[in-house]
């Protein structure tokens, strides 16, 4: 602020500086939430068991005891699928394949100390996630989510094995998830060039997909692996 105040007053006046409109932007660097899509927040922490449940694991590196933060996007079509008019109590379904891959490859990983690589397709050893309709009426569908996932490298030097559970309430007319969350709990092992300092061995990990408190803000920040939007959404260029 000191430097700012040193500028001539006429340069600091409202409207003194002109910023033109951008003619065009590079889509690769300006990735926006697709129309009708919904953004979730994803928080990740390495954990330690404590008397009343879990606590964040201590980390010797930087602020590695802080949560990893990311965003998870569902497209309008995927949300419409979840609003499934045929859903009735007890019926089951799977997420579309793209969504399963999106969750496994880009979100079930240890990103608390930096940026890990995404899991390669062949590194997904198991992904079994089922949605079961708990309740359905004209307005809403409530899905319980349950399953397991296992990803690891060929040499098993880095991996993640989790059990998933959750509950999402979907507004059928708005085609939005309006309540609930999804949680993954398991263990993670290993590190990558940009996530050095992982605890030795297998460490408990918790990952929470939740509705953002500030939807507008969350919608402006693309998921980490959405450098190419189609790659994030459909795992292809």
């Amino acid at each position: 602020m000191r430097e700012w105040r040193k500028l001539p007053a006429e340069r600091r006046k409202p409207g003194a500086m002109q910023v033109e409109d951008l003619d065009e932007t590079d889509d690769q660097y300006h990735r926006t939430l697709p129309k009708g899509a919904q953004a979730f927040q994803v928080f990740t922490r390495l954990l330690e068991k404590c008397d009343d449940g879990w606590k964040p694991a201590q980390c010797e590196k930087g602020r590695g005891d802080q949560p990893g933060r990311d965003h998870f996007w569902l497209t309008a079509k995927e949300l419409a699928d979840l609003a499934d008019p045929a859903a009735k109590e007890g019926s089951t379904r799977k997420f579309p394949k793209f969504v399963e891959r999106r969750i496994a490859r880009f979100h079930l990983l240890d990103n608390v100390r930096g940026e890990p690589p995404d899991w390669d397709e062949k590194e997904i050893r198991k992904f079994d996630l089922t949605l079961k309709c708990k309740k359905a009426d004209a307005k809403q569908v409530v899905w319980t989510i349950a399953g397991e996932a296992l990803m690891h490298t060929d040499g098993d030097d880095r991996g993640c094995k989790v059990t998933l559970g959750g509950e999402w309430t979907v507004d059928r007319s708005r085609k939005r998830v309006v309540a609930g969350d999804m949680v993954a709990l398991g263990e993670h092992w290993g590190e990558s060039p940009l996530t050095r300092g992982a605890p030795p061995g297998k460490t408990p990990i918790g990952i929470v997909f939740t509705l953002p408190k500030d939807e507008k803000l969350a919608s402006q920040v693309p998921p980490q692996f959405a450098r190419h939007l189609r790659y994030y959404l459909e795992q292809r260029y």
């Binding site: 409207g15 500086m17 954990l47 802080q66 930096g114 059990t163 402006q220």
Partner: protein, 75 residues
Amino acid sequence: MTGMWLALPMLLSADAGLSAEARDAVKAAVVPTEADEKWLEIGWRANLWEARKEAAAKGKPILLWEMDGHPLGCT
């Protein structure tokens, strides 16, 4: 070893996913608290160009927080 086997039913629900209790325990440890999120009370702008236009129009400086990754998203 016995303890591990005893702990498993508490974590898993009938549908083999995480029980509601297990989910709540994980959320309590993982999701940042309001105190952790104090920095979000600042009206951050996620679009630099729009922030430039707004700052120029209002005669305000910009505090730029940038990093490899996105400060409001992944590390």
